[in-house]
């Protein structure tokens, strides 16, 4: 075996406490956001169970993910039989309208041709009514859960969207945001009185009301008819500066159906949200509803009230690349320096996204793609950061360095209500700003020998 120093080029070869998840997990969450849909993994049973557990710990909702349950024989002779059995059983138990079948590292490595296996299944099955079955290629050795999420959204659009007469409909592809964020986007779109297809919409499926009737597939999700009509929309809004626009669902709609795609950052902060409303105006020719103009004013009012508490605080921001870029744009507005912007993802576009979202502080920011939490811990200490902003997996760093962690994004495994955290828009930014200021105040109060009761 060759010398490791050469192979390593001074970087660590081990990923210690990953700041990313595997691709099929993202695909499963996306599929959960389609009405009447079931996610299924083509691979070992463990993948489905581990992902369910991980996702349930955040959302606290049932999430069923089927598996084709590879055995040793399946691995040697191929998964055709197991796939058919799995599909038959999912249909028998859940009667879904759509099944999103995502591959895993195992099925990809043995070279399964999932699209053609699904075609064969559809030809050979005798069932009268068949659900849509969408193949999704998500080898976990390529990309992160975000890539899996985006691949699933694109695969669904590719499989369902049809060309039709143009109609006054908007497509919106928010990416991996919280159910609260999706509820909020829907509220905004309702103000415009516009028909829209929001994909995926797991607001109700992953943060729904308690039940009075048992639901094998939780109610809610993007209606399939809405996805089918995406090809005839007047425009697509896609959140994600770090996405490869050629590879997204929005890109596909533009290429195939000539639906203009507006790729913009996560609408966080005043500027980020302004851009979102500007695009809405471009597409709908309607001004921002007064309700949001008012929210915007209240947000800036809050910024002013809290500005001294946060000025030139150093924050380490980590998580999914687009969330990080969106947060950086907001932090720059209030005077917090995101000294490290880090992600386990490796799009190659994070630096540029931060330059676009937060041009005024871009030269003070260290941007790191492909990072893990061990490296984040080292850098946080070295940079003398005052706070961490990211998912709950940064808790051990916050604990050992005794600095506050403001929990955002996914997953939130050590606090209650992660699914109800609002990040987007003026309102979400306001809530986020309150939480950041309060974390700083609490930290200061606890450290003070005086114990001030007015801060």
């Amino acid at each position: 075996m060759a010398n490791c120093d050469e192979a390593l080029k001074n970087a660590s070869v081990v990923t210690t406490n990953a700041c990313k998840l595997c691709t099929p997990l993202g695909a499963c969450i996306a599929i959960r956001g389609i009405e009447g849909a079931m996610p299924m993994l083509h691979g070992s049973q463990g993948c489905a169970t581990y992902m369910r557990r991980y996702v349930i710990s955040h959302f606290r909702e049932p999430i069923d993910i089927a598996s084709s349950n590879f055995t040793e024989n399946t691995t040697i002779f191929g998964g055709k039989g197991n796939l058919a059995t799995g599909l038959n059983n999912v249909i028998a138990q859940y009667n879904p309208d759509l099944i999103g079948v995502a591959t895993t590292c195992l099925s990809e490595t043995i070279g399964e041709d999932l699209p053609s296996l699904i075609k064969q299944y559809q030809t050979e099955t005798e069932a009268q009514k068949q659900p849509f079955i969408i193949p999704i290629s998500t080898p976990s050795y390529r990309g992160t859960h975000i890539n899996g999420f985006q691949t699933a959204v694109r695969a669904v659009v590719a499989g369902l969207a049809k060309e039709d007469l143009p109609q006054k409909q908007l497509n919106i592809l928010p990416g991996l945001v919280s159910p609260a964020d999706i509820y909020y986007i829907k509220e905004i779109l309702a103000e415009y009185g516009l028909k829209y297809a929001l994909l995926p919409d797991y607001s109700e499926t992953l943060d729904g009301p308690t039940w009075d009737e048992y639901q094998s597939i939780p109610a809610g999700g993007t209606p399939i008819a809405a996805i089918q009509s995406m090809g005839s929309a007047v425009g697509t809004l896609e959140f994600g500066r770090t996405l490869d626009s050629g590879q997204t669902a929005g890109g596909l709609l533009q290429e195939r159906f000539k639906v203009p795609n507006y790729l913009l950052g996560m609408p966080i902060g005043v500027r980020g949200t302004d851009q979102f409303f500007e695009v809405l105006k471009t597409i709908t020719r309607q001004d921002m509803p007064n309700k949001y103009r008012y929210e915007r004013g209240r947000l800036i009012d809050a910024y002013i009230d809290g500005h001294k508490y946060v000025f030139e605080k150093k924050a380490v921001v980590y998580g999914e690349e687009d969330l990080v870029a969106g947060l950086a744009g907001f932090l720059a507005e209030v005077g917090i320096i995101p000294v490290l912007c880090a992600s386990g993802g490796k799009s190659g576009r994070l630096s540029q996204a931060i330059r676009e979202a937060a041009p005024e502080i871009a030269d003070q920011v260290m941007v790191q793609e492909g990072i893990d939490f061990m490296e984040i811990a080292e850098e946080t200490e070295r940079l003398g950061a005052d706070l961490l902003i990211g998912n709950s997996k940064g808790y051990q760093i916050a604990r050992s360095l005794k600095i506050p962690l403001i929990r955002v994004g996914f997953p939130i495994h050590d606090r209650f209500g992660g699914q109800r955290l609002l990040h987007l828009g003026y309102r979400g930014t306001g809530e986020l700003f309150d939480r950041i200021v309060n974390a700083i105040l609490a930290h200061r109060q606890e450290a003070s020998p005086v114990g001030y009761s007015y801060l």
Partner: protein, 477 residues
């Protein structure tokens, strides 16, 4: 909707049909099993070894989902709480991952100076043909510590095969060094994972009886404890599904006998102490065991009776990983006056289910390798007040307005031992008697249905009088 045809023999209702339970088979594709995989089984068993590096060889998922996943506490080092992965990328899959594995192992050992390293093979390792054993051997020679491959490719069986792979790895650490200074009254604790510090509690009981605990192989574990474990006179095995393989290896190679026990509930906990005392045939040990049990029970029993008063007649469902835990829970729930109306496990064998059948009441549903749809149906059909399971089962209970007790690896309070029994009762009470259920629309509706039914007949009779037994039809689907 009916239970899937291929699964019908994995469901049995006591008193309703001939007992011909099928189990011990791979999960059915598309069924949405609650089971994990071979890797999970191995990771669970070896997880509590706190001074070893645990390197997961494969793409990132398996390591990411098991990072700090279990509350297995350590009194010293905490290497087990870190997640290490070779994080294989596409090129590694094409070119092979041996070089990366070698470098990763070398780096980790230099960084942490562990007393051993375990390398877990995930699904694709077998497929791409990495010679993990050879890499481990090389690194072991270079670094002078044991580096053990764990054959835990996810598809190569069930969680039980993962237990076996982990036991094989553990066994390789034993028998290498001479052991003396061992008391004739010495034992190893196996299959107790020190969740929320439970092993410490159990260990203290045995030590108070005058027994030397040589090693807890699966709780707050150190490599040198394992290396001395073959010197113990007895192995005491809980969670028989995972560790009985190791106990059998000890029996075969070192002639060490083993006992199977459980530490949940007063009955099982007491029996776990008495059976060890009986084994050593020492009156003083038995006297101390009796005294310990009496003292402990005296403390908790009056409080348990208070809970019993409030829980008597409530109906419980249990779905856990191993069947042995299910036995103990059935007995513990009975002590609280509760009726177990459904019980199941992911990995029970035929003997386990036979034993469950023996201890359960008529009409109890027994299920192997169940899924969310079945479990939800059982909860509804059996009009359950409390469900005991793990994280994946919790939302099923809550959505149906049913109380829940997490008896899995995420629990933060000890539920084992005598003190644990009181925690268990308190947790059940706090969930079953929470006022929130009064607002649950599902609960309101089923209460109304039950009230309507009792106007005409005994509400349970319509379920149990059905000629085909459990009706196997979902009410609302």
């Amino acid at each position: 909707m009916a239970i899937l045809e291929q699964r019908q023999k994995q469901v049995y209702t006591k008193g309703q049909s001939v007992f011909e339970m099928e189990c011990n088979k791979p999960s059915l594709a598309g069924s949405v099993s609650q089971r994990a995989c071979v890797f999970c089984g191995s990771r669970v068993v070896l997880y509590p070894i706190a001074d070893a590096v645990h390197l997961v060889h494969g793409p990132i998922g398996c390591a990411a989902y098991t990072w700090d996943i279990r509350g297995a506490l350590s009194s010293g080092p905490e290497l087990h709480r870190l997640s290490f992965s070779t994080d294989l990328q596409e090129l590694d899959v094409i070119n092979g991952g041996e070089q990366k594995l070698y470098c990763a192992l070398s780096e980790l050992i230099d960084r942490y100076h562990p007393n051993a390293a375990f390398v877990y093979s995930t699904c694709i390792i077998g497929v791409i043909g990495d010679d993990v054993a050879a890499v481990c051997k090389k690194v072991s020679l270079e670094k002078g510590i044991p580096v053990l491959p764990v054959d835990s490719e996810g598809f190569k069986g069930t969680k039980k095969d993962g237990y076996r792979a982990a036991c094989s790895a553990l066994f390789k650490l034993t028998g290498q060094i001479p052991v003396d200074n061992m008391s004739q009254y010495s034992m190893n604790i196996m299959g107790e994972f020190n969740i929320a510090g439970e092993t410490w509690l159990i260990r203290s009981y045995y030590e108070n009886m005058g027994i030397q605990v040589v090693s807890c192989l699966t709780g707050d574990t150190r490599i040198d404890d394992i290396q001395r474990s073959h010197g113990a006179a007895l192995n005491v095995v809980q969670c028989s599904g995972s560790m009985v393989y190791l106990a059998k290896m000890f029996e075969e190679h070192y002639g060490t006998p083993y006992l199977r026990v459980a530490y949940f509930g007063i009955e099982d906990m007491s029996e776990a102490l008495y059976s060890v005392a009986k084994f050593f045939k020492d009156p003083e040990i038995m006297r101390r065991a009796r005294e310990l049990v009496r003292e402990e029970v005296e403390v908790i029993y009056p409080k348990l009776l208070e809970y019993q008063q409030k829980l008597t007649g409530k109906r419980a469902a249990v779905y856990v990983g191993g069947a042995f835990k299910a036995f103990a829970l059935v007995r513990a729930l009975r002590l609280l006056g509760m009726k177990v109306v459904m019980v199941g496990s992911q990995t029970g064998n035929k003997d386990d289910y036979q034993q469950l059948r023996n201890i359960c009441d008529e009409g109890t549903i027994i299920v192997d390798d169940s899924n969310p749809l079945e479990l939800s149906a059982f909860l509804r059909e059996q009009e359950v007040d409390l469900f005991i399971g793990g994280v994946k089962e919790r939302p099923l209970a809550y959505k149906l307005g049913i109380g829940f007790c997490d008896h899995n690896h995420e629990r933060k309070k000890p539920l084992a031992g005598f003190a644990g029994m009181l925690n268990f009762a308190a947790e059940i009470y706090s969930s079953v008697h929470s006022p929130v259920w009064r607002l649950s629309p599902y609960r309101q509706k089923s209460n109304q249905d039950a009230a309507d039914k009792t106007d005409f007949q005994d509400s349970k009779a319509c379920v149990f009088d059905s000629p085909t037994g459990f009706s196997r039809v979902y009410k609302n689907a």
